[in-house]
Symmetry: C2
Subunit: 200 residues, 2 copies
């Protein structure tokens, strides 16, 4: 039920502001961290922006490998999102990683080395567009999306499909602080407000 | 019911990924546009990042004035959000603006010239941190938040408060595409997943 997302529609995976999990790998080490601070940056070729703190192991692996993935967890992964957001990959014993520590399964990406996280509802494989000033000054990383995938139960035809029948475990997470989240809520369509009549 | 938000908590207005309305003003002209692409960039002093396309009147006013505001609309403003997202301030007759055209009331910001939009649930007043390379290459603007406010019915003590009793019109908007939105959904608290027992 995992299907490719065509690249010009990949931004739509992030457009509504979900919290993401950043995965990375380099030289036999791999890591996963949570990031509430990410956004689309361009349509086609799609680009994304994400904040990756200097203190993190993810930062080291992303800088060394030139790649990262943004994995979009559903509510089923809320406890795991909080766990990998609180723990640092740097503090683990040699040879252990957060995937093993928290029992998180992965699968291979199609275009990059970083692993993708099983059980998410969307995935963006990204190649870093090097911007040393942004990275140093703002911890801001820019990535070009080179492949994207989604769980077809909730994202297909370039659109999220959440309705009253959707398994709540598949709703995207929107982090607040201190273990508090929102799940994405009701979908609705609207028309643009009409202009007022011209004043005479 | 509009109350100041202390600056170190201002990032929480954006942390869960709402769509925003960018207001701007310079030399007697003012404008409002919709932006799904924004995120927090730092805690204290708080910074934000937002994408402002070269073709927009907002871009011209932000570059000239060095300020912008991010206004966070609730569902009550969904039709207005779509309207100001579809229309360009450049196409209006001399002397008219989108506020008048769509009957949108404003109030004065405390630290910047740009007007703030009545009926929103949060507001961030921002001073541009000039980064010409980012602006030119990615349409990416960085702002330092110099004042923030929120509707105390849904944001107080540095936290959003949405529950089953909340007026649905106050729920933040999360734009998808083509007139389709999500409202922010159920709030929940979780504990971090416990590590697996060490393997022997």
């Amino acid at each position: 039920m995992r299907q490719p997302v065509e690249l010009p529609k990949a931004y739509r995976l992030l457009n509504h502001g979900p919290t993401v999990l950043v995965t990375s790998q380099h030289g036999g080490r791999r890591n996963v961290m949570a990031a509430a601070w990410s956004m689309p940056l361009d349509f086609d070729p799609p680009k994304v922006a994400v904040v990756i703190d200097k203190a993190t192991l993810t930062r080291e692996l992303v800088e060394a490998s030139g790649h990262f993935a943004l994995n979009i967890p559903g509510r089923a992964l809320a406890e795991a999102t909080l766990a990998v957001g609180n723990a640092s990959g740097r503090e683990l014993p040699e040879g252990e990683d957060k995937f093993a520590r928290y029992g998180l399964a992965t699968f291979a990406a199609s275009r990059i080395v970083a692993p993708l996280l099983e059980g998410c509802v969307g995935w963006l494989e990204c190649q870093v567009v090097r911007e040393p000033h942004n990275e140093r000054t703002y911890d801001l990383f820019i990535g070009e999306v080179v492949a994207a995938h989604a769980d077809a139960r909730v994202f297909s035809g370039g659109r999220w499909h959440y309705d009253a029948q959707t398994d709540p475990a598949l709703r995207t997470l929107h982090y607040v602080a201190g273990g508090a989240f929102f799940a994405i809520g009701e979908a609705f369509e609207t028309r643009a407000l009409a202009p007022r009549p011209a004043q005479s």
